[in-house]
């Protein structure tokens, strides 16, 4: 019989029978089959997190080796070329392979739980985006490990990146790897956008979204538009290097500055893309430990969006020293100064939340609250370099290195580790150790500031960045030694974090569904959550579904235990974009091998392009095309084609 095209979803309460039925529909097969075919957002989220942390460790080791080389003047642990590859690979790793993917990992894991849904909007695209990220990471590291790592800094300026000056495969690995990674980021961005707008629990209107959703959504809306700029830049670079085109070389009528524009049109919005989701995590988690809702929810949400919009118009502040016309500099300097306003809104909202709340000092709280301090320091040094004359003095010195580490470690690594303390109990069902957590926090915090606070001075004293060594008697020796010691202390702190996670997984205290007594939906389900997340689809009536009893707000209360059953196979609900009114029943795809095959095909294609072995490239493209055809083939189960009568 033909299944009906329209159905009134049955309403019911959570029961054992319901859970058993859903488990059968949603559970991933065990073993290798499940590993390669799973489309469960929780599985994918954890993979993202583990992979990104592995890259953090690799990038960290690279940094430590560099700090050994720079610990004193005239050391020769590394050759200049080795040093070039190390600092470039360190930047590439931290910015592209750690900072963004770690946030994708937390968002992937948490979004459907925060939104009261059963999966992301496009589960197979979600798996694809992870596999391509992994492939791109391996591709880029294959270059580094074979002595062909990037060697021109992470922003890779021409003309040094052109073949004439850089004949090896270094830049080809980097270019093609970045194009591949761009595919992953774009697919992920599309998925986050559609998920945020279409797969929320009924009642979760746009003014009830957790701030983390606002942050990640805003970041990914930007990614969707700006990632093509960097992919194109790297593609054109590869063309210039391998096919004799003239986009960037002056001799053929090209423009070296075109590279810088394309790179930073992407690069600056991207900087916000790797901090806004982390700021969102803090905005959601910090209030839990202050025992009150976030102060100024609407202002924080709007300032998140405002930061991104302004963020599109500040890219030239990376190019103040390139000789652009004064009027242009004035505009971008102004925009870069104005952008501090929405950032300050978030800072004051966090401070007010702590001030007006009753803070419970946990390790997570320490990480989130210290982020505020580090953000202010990094923000103020950014504000300084937004001023053109100051920037002319400071550009390409260690001052800028100090600034960007305050921003990226301060507003990415610190809140991410805080988020790990906060949410790992949800993922594993086990708490992290608070005592070890204190040691972890203070070692990281002191180590970080010991390493990077003096670095502002190093820069002010004129030490240029990206030099493999420096002479005696410049006044830089002690500062550099302190930075090197600090970086090792910071690394020990991070090690304590990983130790804590390992200990927790082995023997952590059981977490229970809501160990922090937190207000949002992810804490309404067991830890770890079942494959289907919610046995019934909840209906949301406020921003704090689990705190409604004590906040004593007017209006209806959320319904968690009772809701739509949606148990005819793998189903969830789609809601309208603004008001989150139920709109349609979504049939969700089964686990599939198409994503991993497509990613493998794409990886082979890129290897073929790198080696200019067109047969290999063609085979890769063929596999990818077949996987895509299989993927897009209209299916009855997904109601993409008419069922036979």
């Amino acid at each position: 019989m033909k299944p009906p095209d329209y159905r009134t979803p049955r309403i019911g309460t959570d029961s054992d029978a319901q859970e058993a039925k859903l488990l059968q529909a949603w559970e991933t097969a065990p073993g290798l089959k499940g590993f390669f075919s799973s489309v469960d957002h929780k599985e994918i989220g954890i993979r993202y997190i583990v992979t990104a942390f592995l890259f953090l460790v690799l990038g960290g080791i690279e940094a430590l080796v560099m700090r050994l080389q720079l610990a004193g003047p005239n050391l020769s642990l590394l050759t200049p070329e080795q040093y070039n590859q190390l600092f470039s690979t360190h930047g590439m790793t931290m910015i592209f392979l750690y900072a963004s993917p770690i946030l994708s990992g937390f968002s992937n894991y948490l979004w459907p739980l925060l939104l009261g849904s059963r999966d992301m909007a496009f589960p197979r695209a979600n798996a694809l985006s992870y596999w391509i990220y992994l492939a791109a990471g391996l591709f880029l590291y294959a270059g580094f490990l074979s002595g062909n790592g990037p060697n021109d800094g992470w922003f890779n300026y021409v003309p040094y990146a052109l073949r004439q000056y850089n004949p090896g495969l270094n830049q080809d690995f980097y270019s093609l790897g970045m194009v591949l990674l761009g595919i992953s980021t774009t697919i992920g961005a599309a998925n986050f956008i559609v998920t945020a707008f279409r797969t929320r629990a009924p009642g979760m209107s746009i003014n009830r979204l957790p701030i983390m959703i606002w942050g990640t959504l805003t970041a990914n809306a930007a990614n969707l538009i700006v990632v093509p700029a960097v992919s194109l830049a790297f593609f054109l670079l590869w063309m210039d290097r391998q096919f004799g085109t003239h986009f960037f070389d002056v001799a053929g009528g090209g423009q070296p500055l075109l590279w810088q524009h394309l790179f930073w049109i992407f690069g600056h919005p991207w900087v916000y893309a790797i901090v806004l989701p982390a700021m969102g995590m803090a905005s959601d988690a910090l209030p839990v430990f202050c025992r009150r809702p976030l102060v100024g929810y609407s202002l924080v949400a709007l300032s998140t969006v405002a930061t991104m919009i302004l963020g599109f118009g500040v890219w030239v502040h990376h190019m103040f020293a390139t000789g652009l016309p004064g009027l242009g500099l004035a505009f971008f300097s102004g925009a870069s100064i104005v952008i501090t306003v929405p950032s300050a809104v978030a800072v004051f909202a966090w401070l007010a939340t702590i001030w007006l709340g009753r803070p419970v000092i946990t390790t997570a709280f320490l990480f989130f609250s210290s982020m505020i301090l580090l953000f202010v320091i990094g923000g103020v040094s950014g504000f300084m370099t937004a001023s053109v004359p100051v920037d002319w003095q400071l550009t390409d010195t260690y001052f800028v290195v100090a600034h960007l580490h305050y921003v990226l470690i301060g507003i990415n690594v610190f809140p991410v580790v805080g988020a790990a303390y906060f949410w790992i109990p949800k993922m594993s069902g086990r708490m992290l150790d608070e005592r070890l957590g204190r040691w972890n926090f203070w070692t990281m915090f002191l180590g970080f500031n010991l390493a990077f606070l003096p670095m502002h001075l190093t820069g002010l004293l004129g030490m240029p960045r990206r030099v493999y060594t420096y002479g005696e008697g410049m006044g830089w020796d002690t500062l550099n030694l302190i930075t090197s010691i600090g970086s090792f202390v910071f690394a020990v702190g991070l090690l304590l974090f990983f130790l804590n996670v390992w200990k927790s997984l082995r023997s952590g205290a059981a977490a229970g569904p809501n160990p922090w007594d937190a207000p949002t939906l992810e804490w309404a389900v067991s830890s770890p959550p079942p494959p289907y997340n919610f046995a019934v689809i909840p209906t949301v009536a406020s921003r704090h579904p689990l705190w409604e009893d004590r906040l004593d707000e007017e209006g209806a209360v959320s319904s968690i235990e009772r809701g739509m059953l949606l148990d005819n196979g793998k189903e969830t609900i789609a809601t309208t974009a603004v008001d989150a009114v139920p709109d349609m029943v979504l049939e969700m795809p089964e686990d599939s091998f198409a994503p991993v095959l497509l990613a493998a095909g794409a990886a082979v294609l890129f290897v073929g392009l790198l080696l200019k072995m067109w047969l290999i490239a063609g085979c890769g493209a063929g596999v990818a095309a077949l996987a895509m055809l299989n993927w897009l083939w209209p299916r009855r189960e997904l109601r993409e084609r008419e069922a036979s009568p």
């Binding site: 085109t245 009528g253 090209g254």
Partner: protein, 203 residues
């Protein structure tokens, strides 16, 4: 005690009905990202051209003899694809097949004509920055047309297999949307490379 909010919707569509489905949003995001890609390609042209020396345009008066008819052909193919979509909507399978088949064919002719245009150029990819921009930008577009042709051909085949109905046709609408995008973006490429030289840009 406050009242409990509980969403109890009446009849809801199960899966995508018409173009109403999240897959359509997915293709929408893809189009947005691809549109940005072309914006950056054209930005590169104008950026390099604005600062170039006289003589940078290798074709100060580009020939419109092939380019204009070819542009019209591509635009017409969008219309033909739309007629195919209407065919699905009105359960006229022959019209749908004609529409998708016709659009596939017209797209293929467009690519062939583009190929002749390329062959007829007196300059090559590596001649200058203008040549590189011209070949890479039109090349990017050709690749998108080829992808669109494959999508249309698949939709043609699935229509022949009688997969779709007015209700279950999201794949068709999403594919046709992509084809419209490929055609519209060509107008921007065409204007940039074939029209702006006549308006004085880069002269």
């Amino acid at each position: 005690m406050n009242e409990t909010a509980l969403a109890q919707p009446q009849k809801l569509p199960v899966g995508p009905i018409g173009r109403h489905g999240i897959g359509y949003w997915g293709v929408g995001t893809l189009v947005a990202s691809e549109a940005a890609l072309f914006a950056y390609l054209l930005f590169s042209y104008f950026y390099v051209g604005a600062a170039a020396q006289p003589g940078w345009l290798l074709e100060p008066a580009p020939s419109l003899k092939l380019a204009v008819p070819n542009t019209l052909l591509l635009l017409a193919s969008s219309l033909v694809a739309w007629v195919g979509e209407r065919g699905i909507l009105e359960r006229r399978r022959w019209q749908a097949l004609l529409g998708f088949g016709g659009a596939t064919l017209m797209g293929t002719v467009f690519v062939l004509v583009q190929w002749f245009e390329w062959k007829a150029k007196t300059y090559k990819l590596g001649t200058s920055s203008y040549a590189s921009l011209y070949f890479v930008t039109t090349g990017f577009h050709i690749v998108h047309v080829v992808v669109g042709i494959v999508v249309l051909a698949a939709i043609f085949a699935w229509t022949a297999l009688d997969y779709f109905s007015p209700r279950r046709r999201l794949t068709v609408s999403a594919g046709v949307l992509y084809w419209h995008f490929v055609d519209i973006v060509w107008l921007f490429v065409f204007t940039t490379y074939y029209v702006t030289p006549y308006l004085g840009f880069g002269q």
